[in-house]
């Protein structure tokens, strides 16, 4: 039971952190930074303990806490780790201290409020991941919106108001639909079985006709698709990224986008298996369109943050492709790809933030030959670029390789049976690998190589703090690329569980 307490501790440490910050006077900014940083470090350390203690051989929830909260509605405070969320929790806790350390010099306005917001969003993100009760999940899901809204709106760039309202409206719109679907779902569980419960485990048992499933999946799915984001619900992302401060971008790309794919994996697809199988070709098509569309747009951007923002769309397309392949390898690949993208995108946004802090422009053409002026910076940049491209030995390769293998393995038998579409889509996704190399190397080439050129002299290379942050990310990137067996073993049962839920339920009217 001690470990279950530890999970609660991890979850509520950010709240304690906010309480601690209240005690620190707003003027002593140094103290605020270090308090935040160390609380985050403790949180990460505790999460590592949880991760190590997580038993890969046990299916279902571990470190579970179940406390009645609103008994009349069957709402429980129910949290726990399982194969679905264990890696994402680790990723979130890992990025926490890095986000904080990365903002030390970038944030000088309203420092106390800023770190309080970082704590709040950390709390909400972890809560969303560990929640095993739809009510709790929804609360955390909505809570996430507020700090992000403020982080972009207060500490953002010039067009921050436009960006933050766009972000808010998009996500709030999705959330409203989800809320309606949640209510209907619980209501129908109650009417069919007489049980009033929000627990995922109970909701999985709801049996709904295909038509209802389709409507509900659309409602849930739209909310998740906006978060992922899947083309055509993506236009908030480039604006939000461009205007967000570095920390905001890192959180957004590192963790927030995974909420969408996690939502699909944990809720959207398993809750409505028949609808999922019915819509699978559509989802797959959208995933591949996202891969190619995002890559093409990244190819013609001149704003360095936008390049990475669009590349995120492309990379998360792979996650969706892996999930919807409904093949074990593809699902496992999708999980790894989520973490991998969290690491590489976070690292790249940090790097872009670092150069922006020094030179105050995000225009690609303003830079050139940084490898000569900033050799250390260039090394980190190159490594993360290559990881983003999916070069073997980096995490990007693990994710993309498994996703593509899974997608292809699932598509080929269908092709043999006469259904060509999935195979064409899988082949299209492989094309994304080429485009990925094209846009990232275009970026690296004009950024790092050629005649040395910076808009703002003199530029200093990375300091020790920045080097340590990036070294941590690079180490994780290589760990996931060289030895993915360890994390994969922890998610295997969940991936299998997901696959079974989505593929094996068969009711009249179910497709395929």
């Amino acid at each position: 039971m001690g470990d279950a307490m530890l999970l609660n501790l991890v979850l509520f440490l950010p709240v304690a952190g906010i309480a601690l910050l209240v005690l620190v006077p707003a003027r002593s900014e140094g103290a605020i930074r270090w308090v935040t940083f160390w609380v985050m470090v403790v949180q990460f350390a505790a999460t590592v303990v949880l991760y190590v203690h997580y038993d890969a051989a046990v299916a279902g929830l571990q470190f579970e806490t179940r406390i009645p909260w609103i008994p009349a509605w069957g709402v429980y405070y129910l949290i726990g780790l399982d194969g679905y969320n264990v890696l994402l929790v680790l990723l979130t806790a890992f990025l926490g201290p890095l986000v904080v350390a990365g903002s030390f010099s970038a944030i000088t306005k309203d420092v106390k409020l800023f770190y309080a917001m970082v704590f709040l969003i950390q709390f909400a993100m972890l809560g969303t991941f560990v929640a095993q009760d739809l009510f709790v999940f929804y609360l955390f899901w909505e809570t996430m919106l507020i700090p992000m809204f403020l982080i972009i709106g207060i500490w953002g760039g010039e067009r921050r108001i436009y960006a933050t309202i766009k972000f808010f409206l998009y996500t709030a719109f999705g959330s409203i639909l989800m809320l309606a679907a949640v209510i209907y779902l619980v209501y129908s569980l109650q009417t069919t079985t007489g049980v009033t419960s929000f627990a995922f485990a109970d909701l999985y048992r709801t049996e709904l006709p295909l038509s209802v499933q389709l409507v509900l999946l659309s409602a849930f799915g739209l909310s998740f698709a906006i978060k992922v984001p899947i083309v055509p619900f993506h236009t908030w992302l480039p604006d939000a990224h461009v205007e967000a401060p570095t920390a905001g971008s890192v959180i957004l790309a590192g963790v927030l986008l995974k909420m969408g794919t996690y939502g699909f994996m944990k809720l959207g697809f398993p809750l409505f298996p028949d609808a999922t199988r019915y819509l699978a070709p559509l989802v797959m098509a959208l995933a591949v369109v996202s891969i190619i569309y995002g890559a093409c747009l990244a190819l013609v951007q001149n704003d360095i943050k936008k390049i990475i923002a669009y590349s995120s769309i492309s990379h998360l397309g792979y996650v969706m492709l892996g999930l919807i392949s409904l093949d074990l390898i593809g699902i496992q690949g999708a999980i790894i790809q989520m973490v991998s993208h969290g690491l590489t995108a976070a690292g790249l946004f940090l790097l872009v933030g670092i150069i922006y802090e020094r030179c105050h422009t995000r225009e690609l053409a303003a830079y050139g030959g940084l490898a000569k002026i900033l050799p250390v910076y260039a090394v980190f940049f190159m490594i993360l670029t290559l990881a983003s491209i999916g070069l073997p030995t980096t995490s990007g390769f693990t994710g993309e390789f498994l996703v593509l293998l899974g997608a292809f393995k699932a598509a080929w038998p269908l092709y043999v049976q006469g259904d060509t579409l999935p195979l064409v889509l899988a082949a299209g996704a492989v094309l994304g690998v080429v485009l990925g190399a094209l846009y990232m190397l275009r970026f690296a080439q004009s950024f790092l190589f050629g005649k040395a050129k910076v808009p703002h002299e003199p530029v200093t290379d990375l300091n020790l703090r920045e080097q340590l942050i990036l070294a941590a990310i690079v180490a994780a990137v290589f760990a996931l690329g060289l030895y993915p067996d360890e994390p994969l073993s922890k998610t295997e049962l969940a991936a299998r569980d997901f696959q079974q839920r989505v593929t094996s339920v068969a009711i009249p009217g179910g497709a395929r």
Partner: protein, 624 residues
């Protein structure tokens, strides 16, 4: 342990030089950078002896399990049989020589440590490629050598063109890799494994996998065309000459570009069942060989001539693969590694002597000034031209023979085109010798004054490679590989052609030499006349058939145009953001209409409240 160690040594060199090289200075870099590959070569020899002692039974080592999904373990395992033994010895042997050469060539470069770090990184991935047991490990090495190549082509990155050439190489290779990936996925689906020995066994076994071998073969061959610079993905290799010359010798001549040949030979179990795919391989190979040779005839950059020559020679190797003579292709890989490395390094020595000059039009008469370079260059040229008894003669003759006589796709026309290529090869190589080393000097006085023979670290390596180019052919590699890569059957009635063809190929080699002497012997006067006579053809060849321009028009620009105009302008800005802004505007306008009621006048509000109450009261009386 031994195999793992062979692979890890260069990696250690990369890490040591990359992380500490700049701090610890050149002696450290030299010792680590050259020492570790040499040790790896020693270990490779040791493994080779073990292999022979074991009667040729493959040595297998599993390093660790990369991932385990659905009961299948993606193992990182090494596989050392006769084929990989040959490749590992070439890679570490020639690799070590080129490392030693580089200590002289790169001596003055300020990024000395970075250079050796990259070279070691390349060796690491190349060894993974040739030692991998499964396609996965091979692919890791495959992409990794692409990375090393990218980094080394753009080594002098301050020139934007160099970096651009690196990018072009990487992206072109990626197109091939996409095909490779698809082939790999298909094999995994069909055979349930990625281990190449198992896949070969599955295809040669009694129950053939439920997939067309030719489809797999063609997909994998797409990967090979990328790495080995075959049509239509050959465009990157000439540009790759932007890298330092030792890189061109090691990566873009001796080792990496032969990876495609290795892949096909390694998957011979599949190709043996894939007649259509083999035909494609042979045809692409012979087309590339001839086409690249024609371009090489008119190039004026000493390294570009060698680059097209490499493409052409690789084409010949694919011809051999296409007609089922896998071991012969590997034989040519082996001899080609010696003489082409020698040629590139010789070219490097020339460039070094001329302080960076690469244009043969501004060379000439160098024979007496840099005699060691000259002699070794001539030996290697004679070897590539196929003059007996040098190494190239043996391997090329066998390729021509099987192109003619193999029962698996050999044909007279294949032989004819390959022979024409051989003739061109001999011609353009001796042309290069004449323009560079013989005749009168066309150098700038300033450059000529500084011409000097290279240091012993470079000339020594040249001598070793020249010696190997001279005698390497006496080792009958096809015979050594026969137990695992048997030669294709030759129909009985063709056997009596063997001697005439042999004589023919010797004559072809000398004809090329004579042609070069005739056209370029006398101050190249006759060549100039021919060039003026056929100006259009010359422009076409000098412009490399304008394939680069074609790709730029057909692929590059349309891609950018679609991304920019269709996706960004029409899609993102007009359609998606347009809809969004439209909705927002609609909401704002509607709200604007209703907000007119809000005048701010308290009396009006109060009046409206009363009026509302009155109306609702009246309504409820009426209906109540």
């Amino acid at each position: 342990m031994l195999l793992t160690l062979i692979v890890l040594l260069p990696l250690a060199g990369f890490l040591a030089n990359g992380l500490l090289g700049n701090r610890l200075g050149k002696p450290f870099v030299t010792v680590v950078g050259c020492g570790l590959p040499i040790v790896a070569f020693g270990l490779a020899v040791k493994s080779f002896l073990d292999l022979l002692a074991g009667g040729g039974a493959p040595i297998v080592e599993t390093a660790f399990t990369w991932a385990r999904i659905d009961g299948y373990a993606f193992d990182i395992a090494f596989w050392f049989d006769r084929l990989s033994a040959v490749m590992v010895l070439i890679v570490t042997g020639v690799g070590s020589l080129i490392h030693v050469y580089s200590t002289g060539y790169m001596k003055e470069d300020k990024s000395y440590a970075r250079f050796f770090a990259y070279l070691n990184l390349f060796l690491f991935f190349m060894l993974l490629l040739v030692l991998g047991r499964s396609l996965l490990v091979l692919f890791v090495g495959w992409e990794g050598v692409g990375l090393a190549s990218y980094l080394l082509i753009g080594f002098w990155f301050e020139e934007a063109d160099n970096a651009r050439a690196g990018k072009k190489a990487f992206v072109t290779n990626r197109i091939g890799d996409a095909g490779f990936l698809l082939g790999m996925f298909l094999l995994y689906w069909a055979t349930g494994t990625l281990e190449m020995d198992r896949i070969n066994a599955a295809f040669t076994g009694p129950v053939a996998p439920a997939v067309s071998a030719s489809l797999v073969g063609i997909l994998l061959f797409i990967g090979a065309t990328g790495k080995s610079a075959q049509i239509p993905l050959h465009v990157w290799l000439p540009d790759a000459m932007a890298g330092p010359t030792p890189v061109s010798a090691l990566i873009h001549a001796a080792t990496m570009v032969t990876a495609g040949v290795y892949l096909v030979a390694r998957m011979s179990g599949v190709y043996a069942q894939a007649e259509a795919a083999s035909q494609v391989v042979a045809m692409v190979g012979v087309a590339t060989a001839f086409f690249a040779a024609t371009i090489a005839v008119v190039q004026t950059d000493i390294k570009k001539v060698l680059a097209y020559s490499t493409i052409s020679q690789l084409g010949l190797m694919f011809v051999a693969l296409g007609v089922g003579a896998y071991s012969v292709a590997i034989f040519h890989v082996y001899t080609h590694a010696f003489f082409k490395a020698c040629l590139f390094l010789g070219a490097g020595s020339v460039i070094h002597a001329l302080s960076g000059e690469q244009d043969v039009r501004r060379m000439g008469g160098l024979a007496r000034k840099i005699p060691v370079t000259f002699v070794t260059f001539v030996v290697a040229t004679a070897a590539i031209a196929g003059i007996p008894p040098l190494a190239g003669f043996f391997s090329k003759d066998e390729i021509l023979w099987f192109a003619f006589a193999s029962s698996r796709g050999g044909a007279p026309w294949l032989w004819a085109v390959a022979s024409a290529t051989a003739l061109l090869t001999s011609f353009y190589m001796f042309r290069l010798v004449w323009l560079t080393f013989l005749g009168k000097s066309r150098m700038e006085p300033e450059v000529e004054h500084h011409v000097h023979e290279s240091p012993w670290s470079m000339t020594g390596v040249l001598a070793v490679l020249a010696a190997l180019s001279a005698v390497g052919g006496f080792l009958s590699l096809p015979h050594f590989l026969e137990p695992m890569l048997p030669l294709p059957r030759v129909p009985e009635h063709l056997h009596h052609f063997e001697t005439p063809l042999l004589v023919g190929s010797i004559l072809i080699a000398f004809a090329g030499l004579a042609g070069a002497a005739y056209f370029f012997g006398n101050g190249a006067a006759r060549a100039t006349r021919v060039r003026e006579r056929f100006g259009g053809l010359h422009r076409l060849l000098a412009g490399k058939y304008f394939i680069d321009e074609l790709y730029e028009r057909m692929l590059g620009r349309p891609l950018t145009w679609i991304s920019e105009h269709v996706f960004l302008r029409t899609g993102d800005r007009m359609l998606f953001d347009g809809t969004l802004h439209g909705l927002a505007g609609l909401a704002r306008r509607t709200a604007g209409v209703f907000s007119r009621v809000q005048t701010g006048n308290l009396h009006l509000y109060a009046f409206l409240v009363v009026a509302g109450m009155a109306i609702s009261l009246a309504w409820s009386f009426r209906h109540g």
